[in-house]
């Protein structure tokens, strides 16, 4: 039986782990590769590196991070942040990433999804979306709107409609990040995640709000997610990957034990 995946997300700025992530294990501050390697050795199923470097002339630093990860970590990982063209995507794939993650650039220019999918295959293209709960309206019938720039920019796009369009354009997977739940550690947005999982035929990775193993259990069962993205609960050292997986396994969720 296919396992539900636990995916860890690492934000990288100028080649360092972003300062907003407060690590308990201080010796690892600053190096995304050693943290990723520790997660790999502890049984994480997949990794996402998100480049939040502000200036584009420092993009090559990220490529160096990607190639260092690829040289020592042998599970799938995706890279996102600042990928605006097929050429940008190609660079991170050649550096060793398994998949590319597009978000704002795809909202601005949806053809980026189809171009990347045609060039590298749908399995390589992950469409990430930041979603805000809003009152239902004629343009946003689901009550969920796509936002960009960390929630500051509204797009007036219906999130479910965007997900279906993304799938049609050739995305192979969706990351659905709830802006409302993000950072709360009060649980994933189950209703949104389930609506997404039922609307598309590609895997859905739930993101935002995971604070306890119980939250992961909820989103992987009731929320119908194929995978759950975790950040702070691992980064803060509150739970180990093994603890999370043992909890899920005990509750009957298929997970990969190492």
């Amino acid at each position: 039986m296919l396992s539900k995946r636990i995916v860890s997300c690492l934000d990288v700025r100028d080649g360092n782990l972003a300062k907003s992530v407060k690590f308990v294990n201080t010796k690892d501050i600053g190096d995304p590769v050693s943290t990723a390697k520790r997660y790999y050795e502890n049984g994480i199923d997949e990794l996402v590196f998100y480049d939040i470097t502000a200036s584009s002339d420092k993009r090559d630093i990220m490529l160096d991070v990607v190639s260092r990860v690829a040289a020592q970590i042998f599970i799938p990982f995706s890279v996102g942040g600042g990928l605006r063209s097929v050429d940008d995507c190609k660079k991170v794939l050649l550096a060793g990433a398994e998949k590319v993650n597009v978000n704002t650039a795809a909202v601005a220019r949806p053809e980026l999804i189809s171009e990347a999918s045609a060039a590298f295959g749908a399995q390589c293209v992950v469409l990430s979306m930041d979603v805000l709960a809003v009152p239902k309206s004629t343009s946003i019938t689901s009550g969920y709107e796509i936002v960009t720039h960390g929630g500051r920019t509204r797009t007036a796009m219906d999130a479910i409609a965007w997900a279906k369009r993304g799938e049609k354009l050739g995305a192979g997977e969706l990351v659905v990040n709830s802006i409302d739940a993000d950072g709360t550690k009060e649980g994933y947005e189950l209703r949104l995640t389930r609506m997404m999982a039922e609307a598309v035929g590609i895997p859905v990775i739930a993101s935002g709000g995971g604070g306890t193993p119980e939250h992961l259990y909820q989103v992987l069962t009731e929320g119908k997610a194929d995978a759950a993205l975790v950040a702070s609960i691992l980064h803060y050292g509150e739970y180990s990957i093994r603890e999370v997986k043992e909890y899920l396994k005990k509750k009957g969720v298929p997970v990969r034990m190492t």
Partner: protein, 206 residues
């Protein structure tokens, strides 16, 4: 020296990176003559059988592989490489190399909640002892990304299976050939053990 066959299908460098990490010498090549003379061959690939097979024939990689197989050279197929080793693929109804008799079928699953491609970690159900799997503990999961799967005509070619709505072969082999539908190079330490064992594999001469 291990040759990793390049036929412009997907990211071959991930296999090379894994071998580099293990300290195993290898080279990426699309030259039939280099492949013919290799001590070992890895035939990887991600993508579409219908577009890959013409490239393989045009470059003479098909006959180089067939000769190497007959000569007893250890060969490891991965993902699309594994599918192309069989006789025919449903993907674009493509005639393939036929090193192992059988077909490649598309997942046609009755359960609508099972998504295609089959993507993620799934358990290897070992059906036959094989030296390349000697370090893979029962219950180990491997990483898969695929919509098609190999179906050898001869059941004795099935070395391991996997379950996804149906039970399908995910590791097949005959003599000096071993081929996986999953990605050993993306399957963590358990996957790497297969690559390591392949580099030392001495199949019995026939």
């Amino acid at each position: 020296m291990i040759s990793i066959i390049d036929y412009k299908a997907g990211n071959l460098t991930s296999v090379k990176r894994a071998l580099d990490f293990l300290g195993i010498e290898c080279t990426i090549t699309g030259e039939a003559n280099v492949i013919r003379k290799s001590q070992r061959i890895i035939f990887p690939g991600v993508g579409n059988a219908a577009s890959a097979v013409p490239v393989i024939r045009e470059r003479g990689i098909d006959s180089a592989l067939a000769e190497a197989f007959r000569a007893g050279t250890p060969i490891l197929g991965i993902c699309l490489g594994t599918q192309i080793i069989l006789s025919r693929s449903e993907e674009g109804d493509t005639e393939c190399l036929g090193l192992i008799k059988g077909n490649v079928a598309r997942f046609n699953l009755s359960d609508p909640s099972l998504k295609v491609p089959h993507m993620g970690w799934n358990e290897l159900l070992i059906r036959q002892k094989h030296v390349l799997l000697k370090d893979v503990a029962p219950g180990t999961q491997m990483y898969f990304v695929h919509s098609f799967y190999p179906l050898p005509s001869d059941a004795s070619a099935v070395i391991a299976e996997c379950e996804y709505g149906i039970t399908f072969p995910c590791a097949i082999g005959a003599r000096n050939l071993f081929a996986t539908q999953f990605h050993p190079e993306k399957s963590g330490p358990a996957g790497l053990s297969i690559l390591k064992n392949f580099a030392a594999w001495e199949p019995e001469k026939c």
